[in-house]
């Protein structure tokens, strides 16, 4: 434990309060983009990712001609990139950059070699124009601000208002033809450019151009009229009709009752039964008296006592001594007025 502590203390002292640069610092990577061959930006990180303030040096041929960046991009006093104007850019020669920073007494160096013609990003095409050709054919043309238009390849992206996905087509020249179009549809076109494989090996496409549209678009009068009807007139008319119907329903009870019949409440129908006739159902129901009387029993049954006769010459029954003899006796006849359907049926049988 003591040995471990003696080993750790010098390490911690050397590192200091800040984390060790070798352990915590991730090496930044220089990325350069040459915009339309007019200017170039090289960046190597952001304020959050950079742990040191780097200086950038660049050269094309001899290592003795290293030049420091003249226009740094800064993010709160931390250098994050370098701007190169057109005079500082030479294509088709190896371009070397060196990032240098001093941190914690040590010097950090990151070098990279690039071919600038492989890092060109052209500007988006401009002046997109649609021409109506014969046989329902459309022709799309455009222009570019890139100095070498012949070195560009293009991509056209289009769809109609009835389509869900975009169609993307590669084009080598600066003309795109769409063979057959539907005049009832509304088409939108975009174009972008890239340096072709003959003039470089860049993978950077330009941004998509400003779109151009063709077809029955929203600026025509008929479409505006139809749109106004759909979005304004029909909803308002619907609301008004609904309002009138609601008012009619509230005011005309006959209509209301037909549409919303009352839920029947049977409790009032039985008021007479409970109040007038005191719950006498037959009286309330209007059952004739003779029918009521017929339900009353007009006979009476005598109780038939059943008992077991003792044997003649045998033993004396045990129960004579103390216990009263158990007697099997039928139950008492029901009092008049009590109805016992089962017993009545037995009596009748």
């Amino acid at each position: 434990m003591a040995a471990l502590a003696t080993f750790l203390v010098p390490v911690l002292l050397l590192c200091g309060p800040d984390p060790c640069p070798a352990a915590a610092h991730s090496q930044p990577e220089v990325k350069c983009v040459l915009f339309n061959e007019e200017y170039m930006n090289c960046t190597w990180g952001s304020r959050e990712t950079l742990k040191a303030n780097y200086s950038l040096y660049y050269w094309y041929r001899n290592t003795s001609n290293k030049v420091e960046c003249k226009h740094y991009w800064q993010d709160q006093d931390i250098r994050v990139g370098c701007y190169f104007n057109q005079n500082e850019i030479i294509q088709f020669q190896p371009f070397h950059v060196l990032l240098k920073a001093s941190m914690g007494g040590s010097t950090l160096e990151i070098s990279k070699r690039m071919e600038l013609q492989d890092l060109v990003k052209p500007d988006a095409p401009v002046n997109l124009t649609i021409h109506n050709m014969s046989n329902n054919q459309l022709q799309l043309t455009w222009a570019t601000t890139y100095p070498k238009a012949k070195c560009l390849e293009h991509a056209v992206k289009y769809k109609s208002n009835k389509d869900t996905d975009w169609m993307e087509i590669s084009v080598n020249g600066d003309v795109f033809s769409l063979p057959s179009v539907d005049y009832k549809k509304f088409y939108t076109f975009y174009v972008r450019s890239k340096v072709n494989k003959y003039c470089g090996r860049t993978q950077l496409w330009s941004e998509w151009s400003v779109p151009v549209v063709w077809g029955s678009n929203s600026t025509s009068k008929g479409t505006v009229h139809w749109l106004w009807i759909h979005t304004v007139l029909i909803p308002i008319a619907s609301c008004l009709i609904l309002l009138v119907l609601v008012i009619l329903l509230v005011r005309m009870e006959r209509v209301w009752v037909i549409l919303m019949p009352r839920i029947p409440n049977p409790s009032k129908n039985f008021d007479e039964l409970f109040i007038t006739h005191n719950g006498n159902f037959q009286e309330w129901a209007g059952v004739p008296k003779d029918v009521v009387e017929s339900f009353k029993p007009n006979y009476s049954e005598n109780i038939c006592y059943v008992s077991e006769l003792p044997p003649k010459d045998s033993y004396e029954p045990l129960w004579e001594s103390s216990n009263p003899p158990p007697s099997v006796m039928p139950s008492a006849s029901p009092a008049p007025g009590e109805h016992s359907p089962y017993k009545n049926s037995y009596g009748r049988v």
Binding site: Q93, Q117, K150, K197, Y198, R201
Partner: protein, 181 residues
């Protein structure tokens, strides 16, 4: 006095006639940029791209060491693109017999060099082109397809060849950009 003047100046003229062709290009397609453009776009560019892909597959970690960084770099000089391409193509033919480079790699490099020299109609010093290109043009594809594809260890010659290929490709891009107006 006049005899002395003519005696001293007369030998200078033949000397000028002998020295002047040294600085002129040995390529015959200087002003035929359209023809070069067509052949480059339709034929040569595909072989160059294949060669670049093969070059990328070869190990180059040792090329970043200081020992291997002192490699001769060919520059594509402004207004002298054809001469620069000639110089690069002729230099690349040197690697055809280097056994430390994989066979497929050096054969493809020689194939592209010969194609460049053929398109530009250039010659090389020491008749290097006449020694290598007939063999490569006849057996080029067969040997690269059936030959051994073993990956050689990174070495100085591989680094030099990779640098040469990169320079040749860039110079062709530059030349194409100039002539495509």
């Amino acid at each position: 006095m006049f005899h002395a003047f003519f005696r001293s100046t007369l030998p200078v003229l033949p000397l000028l006639l002998v020295l002047s062709p040294v600085n002129s290009s040995s390529c015959a397609m200087e002003n035929k940029t359209t023809e070069i453009h067509v052949k480059y776009e339709n034929i040569l560019i595909h072989d160059i791209n294949e060669l670049v892909n093969i070059s990328a597959q070869n190990r180059d970690r040792c090329c970043r060491n200081k020992n291997h960084k002192n490699i001769k770099v060919f520059f594509c000089n402004d207004t002298q693109e054809i001469e620069s391409l000639q110089s690069m193509a002729c230099n690349m033919l040197r690697f055809f017999h280097k056994q430390r480079i994989s066979k497929a790699f050096r054969w493809k490099a020689a194939f592209v060099s010969c194609g460049t020299l053929q398109v530009l109609k250039c010659k090389c010093e020491g008749h290097r082109k006449e020694k290598v290109c007939p063999h490569v043009n006849v057996f080029g594809k067969e040997d690269t397809e059936t030959g051994e594809q073993s990956r050689k260890k990174c070495n100085q010659e591989v680094c030099e060849l990779k640098e040469n290929i990169s320079s040749l490709r860039s110079c062709w891009n530059k030349f194409e950009k100039i002539i495509s107006r």
